[in-house]
Assembly symmetry: C2
Homo-oligomer: 358 residues x 2
């Protein structure tokens, strides 16, 4: 018997092994903030979402689009939609109405979930069902299910689609990338392994969840039962404040996030304030590696570990990782930063590289 | 396109990313010891083994049995046999001739590899090809391949068999468990993730490689490019000596291994000698958890981390892991040891546990 790899495995494990542990801390002070959910709560709400989608007549395989900054309802949707056989379409919340409308139509989404802060910008976008995520009238999509209620049975299939992630469309219209359960499961596990995610990690959501499903890290940190802190907006000082408040150990982001943190740390230093997270935080950065001077500052000024990855939405996304090797421990900070600014290694062999006949 | 998960991925990655790094340190002073191999060497020898098997007319899918304590040639065989489409049959080297003969015949192995130290005990065992692993006349099975030579193409298939592992046969004859590439790939990755194997780890082979392929840890530590130290025989003092000499950080074993280490450490203490590996070594233990007093001593007397796992050969083998949680950090050593002596958690839900309809 072959057990299919589906992203529901991660939530299932967390709810079994870490039921009472804080799972997701929502952004405080926003409309409809869900506060702190445990993994039992997260599972009950994901299941509740699946039940509500059943009630709304949204069939397995149908698409549910979401336009939202990072939020607990987004985390619930990762599982409430995809773990029960439907397909999530996370949309870049910085797109305009016309672009969002295109994606909703192109993906064939029958449900559109819109964060209240984004609602103004995309009020013209239409969909069969259109729900604002302010906790007021959401068709019960985010209500927890009781222990006795099971959503309509879905025959788990690792080749079923988890999500359709639209790339930026620099050359023409955005293109939708279909990621399967197998894609996302393997990416999350391998990414989690390489970044040594454990149940002792506290993850800060600095990376947009819409961006290739937060690079799959939301699945990985859920699998390990990590405490997750939602952050809606990138703000360097706010990141530092949360690192101190929650004991954050792990975050992901584009080079711009690193720059914002370094600026905030420099300002703190000028004010004679402490920089939190030293020897404790690792920050995973993707895209073009930042200048090696920036990497050097992450270690020198923050005392954080810098990890460079490379990938594409089309590859789920992780392709390569560069984490400081023991062999580099003796190198001076500048050399070390240079070594860390590479995104891969040369492929061995030429035409015979594929030596096992694959 | 779906890329099959095969255990060759692990060696391929190591040889690409960590070509020049020491991979396997063979037991010194044994007949035909291979000394220190880099990952480039390990890959070239695994490929060389596949080429030699080609030359011997051993078809893809055929079985190659090995009766050997831990050895570098065993490590080469894990990949030289299985990564190129054949099936390894690792045999318990403590079995008698009749039992080994049964397994060779039952598995249909056409090749039998025998360690020189075992040879005397199993000299009566016959096979189509029978090779003693003393480096004298081994049909070139352990010669490195040049960069230009490719073994016969094997269409990689994750559902192909990696190995047939015979269980102890307490109720009758030993039973062969067929593990697939997918089984072994997933087990190694998840086991490696949970035990946070990184490229900074130095792994000591205290667990017999024949035992469910060393629980899959040889694949995981190869994937991460860890330095691996072969140890042929469990001997507590020798383990401590190697921890000091090589900077070992990770090992696996039955409770008896833990007991041997604790005895050796107590003897060292009496002689006023240092106990190496404090705050550095984690030891992964499977089977019936040892008494909580033993677990307490691992932390108290060695300063090592104790990790309890549970599994079966039939489950590749990892099923559950118990690693100390942050929530237990405040517990007194006795309580902590008790918490660590459990091998699982209660399954949530009753008849509705299977809530996603799976």
């Amino acid at each position: 018997m072959q057990v299919p790899l589906t992203i529901g495995d991660f939530l299932d494990r967390a709810a079994t092994v870490y039921a009472g542990r804080p799972a997701v801390v929502d952004e405080p002070g926003t409309p409809g903030s869900l506060g702190v959910l445990t993994y039992a709560d997260l599972e009950a709400r994901a299941r509740g979402m699946a039940l509500a989608l059943d009630d709304m007549g949204v069939a397995h395989g149908e698409r549910v689009a979401i336009v939202s900054p990072n939020a607990t309802r987004f985390m619930i949707s990762f599982f409430g939609v995809s773990a029960f056989g439907r397909v999530l379409v996370p949309v870049n919340f910085r797109l305009n109405s016309e672009e969002v409308q295109y994606i909703v139509e192109h993906s064939g989404a029958s449900v559109l979930l819109v964060d209240p802060e984004i609602e103004g910008a995309v009020s013209a976008v239409t969909a069969k069902e259109r729900i604002v995520l302010d906790g007021v009238d959401d068709r019960g999509l985010f209500d927890p299910a009781g222990p006795g209620r099971s959503p309509a049975g879905w025959k788990a299939d690792e080749n079923a689609t988890v999500s359709v992630n639209y790339t930026s469309g620099t050359t023409a219209r955005p293109k939708g990338v279909q990621l399967t359960h197998r894609n996302c499961w393997l990416n999350a596990s391998i990414f989690g392994w390489h970044t040594t995610v454990t149940d002792r990690d506290v993850f800060l959501h600095t990376l947009p969840m819409f961006h290739c499903n937060g690079w799959g890290m939301p699945y990985a940190v859920t699998a390990m039962g990590c405490k997750q802190i939602v952050q809606r907006k990138v703000d360097g000082e706010e990141i530092l404040r949360r690192v101190a408040e929650h004991g954050v150990t792990l975050m992901c982001g584009a080079p711009a996030v690193v720059a914002a943190i370094l600026d905030a740390a420099a300002a703190r230093k000028e004010r004679g304030e402490e920089i939190p997270g030293g020897d404790q935080v690792r920050i995973v950065v993707a895209g073009a590696p930042p200048p090696s001077k920036t990497i050097e500052r992450v270690s020198g000024e923050l005392g954080w570990e810098f990890i460079q990855i490379y990938g594409l939405t089309e590859t789920s996304p992780l392709l390569t990782i560069n984490r400081a090797r023991a062999e580099w421990d003796g190198a001076d900070p500048q050399q070390r930063a240079q070594l860390l600014s590479r995104a891969g290694v040369p492929r061995r062999g030429g035409e015979n590289a594929d030596e096992r006949g694959r």
